[in-house]
């Protein structure tokens, strides 16, 4: 067992973990933040997507020790100070961009980092860039719509 220190959503967590602990297990089991999901466990489906020092990564394919001393943001960080949902979450709701919802936390964390790189993405670019995340309800049309409408809302004012 080794100690690890990770700032998760603004709170520093310092439990002792086994060296082989994956970041996603650290988030879910040690921090009890279960919004981040484990889907394929092979870095293909993207359900476990979180932000590590501001960059989207697949937390099932990273050791907790690799994030030692880093900042991690999960889906739980998106709640607004007034208690409302984040604009991306509202857009997913409005556009019916989820059915079972299992892929949704990863989709949203992936989509937010996508918009940071490409504030005004075309539909083709969105489709290419979210191929990192798999939705087995195959609701991609509405997911693309939700990301596009969020881009318009979040970035058109800038």
């Amino acid at each position: 067992m080794v100690s690890v220190s990770i700032n998760i959503n603004g709170k520093v967590e310092m439990p002792s973990v086994e060296e082989r602990t994956l970041l996603v297990n650290f988030i879910r089991d040690n921090c009890r933040l279960t919004g981040t999901h484990i889907g394929c466990d092979t870095a293909q489906c993207g359900a476990c997507t979180v932000h590590l020092n501001g960059k989207a990564i697949k937390s099932c394919n990273v050791l907790a020790l690799q994030a030692d001393g880093s900042n991690v943001k999960t889906i739980e960080s998106l709640i607004q100070t007034d208690g409302n949902m984040h604009p991306m979450q509202i857009a997913f709701n409005e556009e019916h961009a989820l059915q079972c919802g299992y892929c949704t936390p990863g989709m949203i964390m992936s989509a937010l980092s996508l918009l940071e790189m490409y504030p005004n993405p075309s539909e083709d670019l969105i489709r290419e860039q979210i191929s990192s995340n798999i939705c087995r309800c195959t609701g991609y049309h509405n997911i693309v719509k939700a990301i596009k409408s969020t881009a318009v809302k979040m970035y058109s004012a800038k």
């Binding site: 080794v2 086994e18 060296e19 082989r20 994956l22 466990d41 092979t42 870095a43 293909q44 993207g46 997507t49 590590l52 960059k55 989207a56 990564i57 697949k58 394919n61 990273v62 050791l63 020790l65 690799q66 030692d68 992936s110 980092s113 996508l114 790189m117 860039q129 191929s131 990192s132 798999i134």
Partner: protein, 266 residues
């Protein structure tokens, strides 16, 4: 995943010492292939030596003849570099086509080359661009580096520090990608240096290889017609549930044709 010890390497010397003292240890660069194989218990290192703190190994430098990329440079950095795009468009495109955005934020050039996965993208660019792989011990020409399935010329305690890619006149990389992992089922990198054309094929065989028949055809005539009828012998090609040898042989020619089309549009 089996248990292992974990070391944060402080610097290159420290990493080399840790590695030399433990034959079963492995270096951890980005971990995007290594951790996946450890989860499947295909890899069972006694210790991982994390190179994250070796910031000197990360970065991109451009000289008139070379693009020099540090071993710990993430794929996303190369894919996001306008300087690389201007110097070697094929390399820039390749980096942006590796896996997906999340994997590119973790995966590193050095990790990809040291692993030498038969379907990895970077070996194709490294071989086609007549690159030199610098380690903490020596410099290795790309032609001497890739030795076989997950095999390289690296010694036990040797660490890649940077790769020097020669800047060609024109270059292009085209791959037929696996739809989930985005690995190259077959990928072809063509580099035109004027006096020489180099064609490197990844994904098709146990290890990246140069396609001599295509190279000699393309140096005479950089056109689709000069390679359209070239058939790659199937005897050494890979066969898996995604593509058999015949199909991979077909894909080598198809991807090469598309790469020539791209080069001729530059």
């Amino acid at each position: 995943m089996y248990s292992f010890k974990f070391h944060h390497a402080k610097n290159l010397v420290n990493a080399s010492e840790l590695l030399a003292g433990n034959a079963e240890a492995k270096l951890l660069a980005g971990g995007q292939s290594l951790l996946a194989s450890m989860k499947l218990r295909l890899n069972n290192p006694s210790a991982l030596i994390d190179l994250k703190a070796l910031v000197d190994l990360s970065g991109i430098k451009i000289s008139p003849n070379e693009v020099v990329v540090g071993a710990m440079t993430r794929h996303a950095q190369v894919a996001g570099s306008i300087e690389v795009q201007n110097a070697i468009p094929g390399l820039h495109h390749l980096a942006g086509s590796i896996a997906d955005r999340m994997v590119r934020n973790m995966g590193t050039l050095g990790g990809s080359l040291a692993n030498s996965d038969p379907s990895a993208d970077y070996p194709a660019a490294t071989l086609a661009l007549n690159s030199t792989i610098d380690t903490n011990r020596r410099s290795i020409a790309a032609d001497d580096f890739f030795k076989g399935l997950f095999q390289t010329a690296l010694n036990d305690s040797e660490i890649i520090t940077q790769v020097r890619f020669l800047i060609p006149k024109r270059s292009a990389y085209v791959k037929f990608k696996h739809p989930a992992s985005r690995y190259a089922v077959v990928g072809v990198f063509i580099a035109d240096f004027g006096h020489e054309v180099r064609v490197a094929v990844t994904g098709a065989a146990s290890c990246v290889f140069r396609h001599a028949e295509m190279e000699s055809a393309l140096i005479k005539d950089m056109s689709i017609n000069s390679i359209a009828d070239i058939k790659t012998p199937t005897s050494n090609l890979n066969c898996d549930i995604f593509a058999d040898e015949e199909y991979r042989s077909y894909l080598v020619t198809r991807m090469a044709i598309k790469a020539v089309e791209k080069i001729n549009q530059l």
